[in-house]
Symmetry: C2
Subunit: 372 residues, 2 copies
């Protein structure tokens, strides 16, 4: 295996102090016995939820790596891979998971799913799970390493197993990143809206701490600039990729006396919720307001009106991440970064502004960008 490969993370000077953390330190911080710490890791259901939470928080704070004996057993491969998601109930992930699972299965690996909603308890649990040698590698879709925040703060990764970041890149981590060009795609969509004659283009964002959001927001600003349009903070509406956020943004826009002629939503869920709310308020889409999405989930093509959006190759993203991880697990060299192409999918929810008397765009697909 290439030692300078993506799984070879640099040793950090401050990491050695973390390694010296003992079970006693955890017990003291959590105000429990060392036996309780052991039990919380081995048979968590036999520890009260309160004590368990304290133990896991203490593990997360101290950076304790439990069960060194189990770590040494790691040479006994488990043929299991952990897939970490930020939100298992989000439709966006279903096709990605299928892509991961089918590629892992072909190579003889099973898939363990963790729905990490950001609670330190849960995160520490899975870090301990990895430390106990229960999986050979992990695919991270949640935008950060174990123990870290999305902005890269917190402890250094000490899992010691190959990791791959999928969709949400983790720039601070020296691990392979599989993604699309979020910034380029957002710029492209913004420029497309501008090219139809829109001069006032609103933006419905993802969660602020999310790297997808940061990239897409830069792309929106790039697109405005390329089209010679000014950036107007009043046209940026908060969101979190859910239908509910789209509904809220739609209510916000419907209540305004002057409205933008186009809205770029950074997820299809938000676009669908927003369109529904605008229609309910008596506005026409695209007649009064054009609405564009991002992702091209299954429902985009059958939305009413059919959604103009950016197609992400979700199954292929999942397959690519699994392939890279399998390469790492089996000691083959693997690429450090893979960017898959997206497509601009032109359907019916976007048209020139009402005061421009052109025909609406027909449904076509154009290649949005080249691989990097």
């Amino acid at each position: 295996m290439d030692e300078s490969g993506p799984s070879g993370r640099p040793e950090q000077d401050d990491a050695s102090s973390h390694r010296a953390v003992r079970i006693q330190d955890v017990a003291k911080l959590a105000d429990v016995s060392t036996a309780t710490v052991s039990r919380a890791l081995a048979t968590p259901e036999r520890v009260s939820p309160e004590a368990r939470a304290r133990v896991f928080e203490a593990i997360a704070k101290t950076g304790y790596v439990p069960n060194p004996a189990a770590r040494s057993l790691r040479s006994q491969k488990t043929h299991m891979v952990l897939v970490v998601l930020p939100d298992l109930s989000n439709t966006f992930f279903s096709k990605i998971l299928r892509g991961i699972e089918e590629r892992l299965f072909e190579a003889g690996y099973g898939m363990i799913i963790s729905d990490l909603d950001g609670t330190p308890e849960k995160e520490a649990h899975f870090a301990a799970f990895i430390a106990a040698g229960r999986v050979d590698g992990a695919i991270l879709l949640n935008g950060h390493l174990f123990g870290q925040t999305r902005m890269g703060g917190g402890a250094t990764d000490r899992t010691g197993i190959p990791l791959v970041a999928l969709c949400e890149a983790i720039p601070s981590a020296d691990i392979p990143q599989i993604e699309i060009d979020n910034r380029g795609a957002a710029s492209r969509m913004t420029q497309h809206l501008a090219s139809l004659g829109h001069r006032s283009i609103a933006y419905v964002s993802g969660p602020e701490s999310n790297i997808l959001e940061r990239e897409r927001f830069l792309g929106y600003q790039d697109g405005l600039k390329a089209a010679g349009l000014p950036f107007d903070p009043g046209l940026v509406l908060p969101g979190d990729y859910t239908i509910e956020a789209g509904v809220a943004a739609g209510q916000n826009l419907a209540a305004r006396s002057t409205r933008p002629s186009a809205v770029f939503c950074t997820s299809d869920e938000m676009a669908i919720g927003l369109i529904r709310t605008l229609l309910s308020a008596g506005l026409r889409v695209p007649g009064d307001i054009s609405v564009a999405g991002f992702d091209d989930i299954e429902f985009a093509a059958v939305a009413e009106p059919a959604l103009t959006t950016i197609h992400q190759p979700r199954r292929e993203l999942g397959q690519a991440a699994a392939s890279v991880l399998i390469d790492l697990l089996q000691g083959r060299p693997s690429p450090k970064r893979i960017r898959l192409d997206t497509d601009l999918v032109l359907r019916d929810s976007v048209a020139p502004p009402q005061n421009m008397l052109k025909a609406p765009a027909k449904t076509t697909r154009t290649r949005a960008m080249k691989p990097t």
Copy 2:
């Protein structure tokens, strides 16, 4: 533990002959060495896909239980649960998986997901995975036991671990079943359509072999009968719960010279695809045709028109299945059958037929049925 409980499957006379199957029998049938059989189970990636397929097929045919040593190790609990899905890419399952995962996590169990698309190779792989003691229990959402068909044919379950059937009941299996009253809910929706004045109510089905489909189809017929309407096979359109199947059914209906005034689709995906196709063909929904769905996925409320459907408590179904399995794993008694309530959700896609001059129904929710 109650020995007559749901996990106590009756011994079958013909099962003892299966237990005597040896690795040599598998090797002979697969035309490989016994070493290859062992390797296909332990390190499948080191066996050619062709040989692996033959080995797994032979395992499935003979009912061979690999690795008896690993079986005896099963007293060493793994705290892992296998969740078997028929189609991981289906939106319907995302909230169910979240419900399962959160309940399992609370109890200290991890979740391994298998996307079993019906290939014998994959199914045999997971049967071997269970036999090797890699999981403590399993939740089956695919409507059949390992090695069996959906209709109950094939080998007896020999996994030896607690199993729970979720959503798709497995009537032939003596394991706990967590489900909704599919037949009652379908009857209720059919009667609702009839109560608005519809006399010609089409039905878009699920896959023929699926027990959900068999129950819902009986419910549709029950509902017609209760409303005094004749059953017309010409109004039954084939489907498989996907958007694409709804589009196909919509094309079928749009091309007819005489059309039903209402269509009951047995999934929201199909209803959304069907509505989109009818609208594209210049028909009005519900003006020309009322359309009802089943499931109440997130997109039902924001579809245009908003979808009248049957609400399934998906997260609660997942939680209930996980709770029952945890009871079994921890030796507590558990119910043999849990039926969760559904709701009839009345939105905008259903109205009285055009020739009846009533106002369309308002969005309300009514309790559809009582628990059994």
